[in-house]
């Protein structure tokens, strides 16, 4: 086990390093300096600016500085908002995005598992068809489309819930629904499929033969095993939800990290793009790492030191 964790940990570091390097190379590959649009600046100002952002140093030094800034979580000042550092933007935006993301995950996991389990228990019944119709529809509607539809109908036409911002629990309902529907649908499908398989296993028959109540069979015996595939996709799902927050925050005018990120893309604010990409990637890769370890603990069949060549 410690060896497995160590191996995963090293992979995590390598992944973050690759992302960081890729970001660096890509950003430096863009022709011209970020200050090109500022026509007023004379060469001296230009040079001073470059010095301030340490763009006058040779590439390898810049790269090392950059790596250092990642390790020390100091991403430097924003170029378009000179009074703010990338860190302040992250500190302001990330907690909100995190809140939105976590709320979405929790809603999606709980409702997805309940939906999938009931669908499997009533296999080919009305609940099953209903849940699976919802699942396919939920996977097919992009979150930004759902978000705009929700604003138009629920907020504008029916005046039930506020259409934007993130100031009270009431404001959070629509963004969470918009973001959670897709993941809920995926989890429901997965749970249903693996639940159907688990329910035919001998140990379930055994549990039934022992006279256990159906609830106990499902909750104690079936669900535990049926949920393994759900745990497996948690990592990728998290990535989807976190990037999903970008558009959702844009649509609902939520002042999270996504808003700053999209803004920084639109006005080519490189330090912000680089800082938030690396920060987000590191966060995601760390989550994947956690999921992997949790998975290892949950499934006793997984030998934590896998054989060579297995994935």
């Amino acid at each position: 086990m410690p060896l497995y964790i160590l191996k995963r940990f090293i992979m995590m570091i390598v992944t973050v390093l690759i992302i960081a390097t890729l970001t660096f190379v890509l950003m430096r590959a863009i022709p011209g300096s970020p200050f090109d649009e500022e026509r007023t600046s004379n060469p001296t100002i230009q040079a001073n600016l470059e010095k301030f952002y340490k763009l006058d140093q040779p590439m390898p030094i810049q790269y090392l500085n950059y790596l250092k800034s990642i390790v020390t979580f100091d991403y430097g000042p924003s170029i378009k908002k000179p009074n703010e550092s990338v860190n302040t933007l992250l500190a302001r935006g990330f907690p909100i995005s995190f809140e939105l993301g976590m709320a979405t995950i929790i809603v999606a996991v709980i409702s997805g598992i309940i939906l999938g389990t009931f669908a499997a228990l009533r296999h080919n019944g009305i609940i099953d068809y209903g849940a699976m119709t919802f699942a396919v529809v939920g996977i097919s509607i992009p979150n930004f489309v759902l978000a705009t539809l929700l604003i138009q109908q629920v907020a504008v036409n029916w005046h039930l819930l506020p259409p934007a911002t993130w100031s009270s629990p009431k404001h959070m309902i629509l963004p969470i629904i918009a973001l959670a529907t897709g993941p809920t649908a995926i989890i429901a499908r997965l749970t249903r499929a693996s639940m159907l398989e688990v329910l035919t296993q001998d140990y379930i028959k055994m549990a039934r033969a022992k006279g256990l109540s159906p609830f106990r069979i499902v909750a104690r015996h079936a669900l535990r095993n049926a949920l393994m595939p759900v745990v497996t996709i948690m990592g990728t799902m998290l990535a989807g939800i976190l990037t999903g927050t970008f558009v959702i925050e844009k649509i609902f005018a939520i002042p999270g990290m996504g808003k700053y990120f999209v803004e920084s893309i639109n006005n080519r604010d490189y330090p912000v793009i680089m800082g938030s990409t690396v920060f987000y990637s590191a966060f995601l890769v760390f989550m994947l790492f956690l999921v992997d370890i949790v998975y290892g603990f949950l499934d006793p069949r997984i030998k934590l030191h896998k054989k060579e060549g297995e994935v």
């Binding site: 992944t15 890729l22 996977i139 930004f144 489309v145 999209v262 893309i265 994947l288 994935v311």
Partner: protein, 312 residues
């Protein structure tokens, strides 16, 4: 051989010896179907999947010929007819520049389908080569190739795509390149898994003992037998590529105005939904959703149809 029970007397002449029918002894009762014919037979029974297929065929035709039926150009602006509700002149209404939403919808369909299909095809080629080599070679090569995949798999794809879009500048080519740079990994994993399983089957050994070389074995023995899961994966890649294109366009990183893609149209419609111009959002949103839906149900149906275990 007839044994007579003495308790019941059945006259001998009631028994008729059935002549040995040598001609039909070898006949196969169930019509012999190839794998693909059988899969097609089962897919045809799946109404939802067939509905998806029919929709996609119609959509493809409309994407190709739809603009021909419209008197308007896709980028032609008409400032006297801004934000018009759907009418006889403009079936799907017009946008804030007076452009015809009907015409733009089919142009959007072209872009969405093109991005989806290209992404799936490129993934397919890279995935087959990488996964095929990795699975077939095995051992150390496989180990190294899989470590690379594992690391790539850990990358947050849309973030990388966004980064690439920022650097390369928004265009159709960029979208496809960005999507495939991150997208082929899933396909490679599937191909590798399949190849790993099949390469030890007897018919491959037989082929080897006849002296077939590696490229031939991969081409003739391994690939045809891995096609099922690969096609399913391709069908499911298309909707996620369509989603990614719409997502990027929605963030302002995709196709640029005045050209139309569904994501761009939905993005442009965002400011006006509060004023009740529902058609601006409805048509692109509806077509994105229903196209993804069609590909998803078709993919699901193919998954069932191509799975030999489910053969009824």
């Amino acid at each position: 051989m007839v044994t007579k029970d003495p308790r019941v007397s059945i006259p001998d002449e009631w028994f008729r010896k059935k002549g040995e029918d040598h001609e039909r002894a070898e006949a196969v009762v169930r019509p012999s179907l190839s794998y693909w014919k059988d899969a097609w037979r089962r897919l045809r029974k799946n109404k939802l999947a067939m509905g998806g297929l029919v929709f996609l065929v119609i959509l493809t035709l409309l994407a190709i010929f739809g603009p021909v039926f419209s008197p308007y150009e896709v980028t032609a602006t008409d400032l006297r007819n801004q934000n018009m509700a759907p009418s006889a002149a403009h079936w799907f209404g017009t946008d804030e520049m007076g452009r015809d939403v009907f015409t733009r919808t089919w142009y959007g369909a072209r872009i969405s389908l093109f991005v989806g299909v290209m992404a799936a095809l490129i993934d397919f080629f890279i995935g087959i080569i990488y996964g095929g080599v990795s699975g077939y070679k095995g051992g150390r090569t496989d180990s190294i190739m899989m470590r690379i995949i594992e690391i790539l798999y850990g990358l947050p794809h849309l973030l990388v795509v966004i980064l690439l879009m920022v650097v390369m500048g928004p265009s159709l080519t960029t979208i496809i390149v960005a999507l495939t740079i991150t997208g082929w990994v899933g396909m490679a994993r599937i191909v590798r898994g399949q190849v790993l399983q099949i390469k030890n089957f007897e018919f491959v050994t037989a082929s080897k003992s006849f002296g077939a070389r590696t490229p031939r074995i991969i081409r003739k023995n391994l690939l045809p037998n891995t096609m099922g899961p690969i096609i399913v994966q391709m069908t499911l890649t298309v909707p996620s590529a369509i989603f990614a294109e719409a997502f990027l366009s929605f963030l302002g990183l995709g196709i640029q105005a005045p050209y139309a893609s569904w994501g761009v149209m939905a993005n442009d419609a965002l400011p006006v939904i509060l004023s009740g111009d529902w058609w601006r959002l409805f048509f692109p949103a509806f077509f994105i959703s229903i196209t993804m839906f069609a590909f998803n149900v078709l993919g699901d149906g193919m998954q069932d149809a191509l799975d030999p275990k489910l053969r009824g």
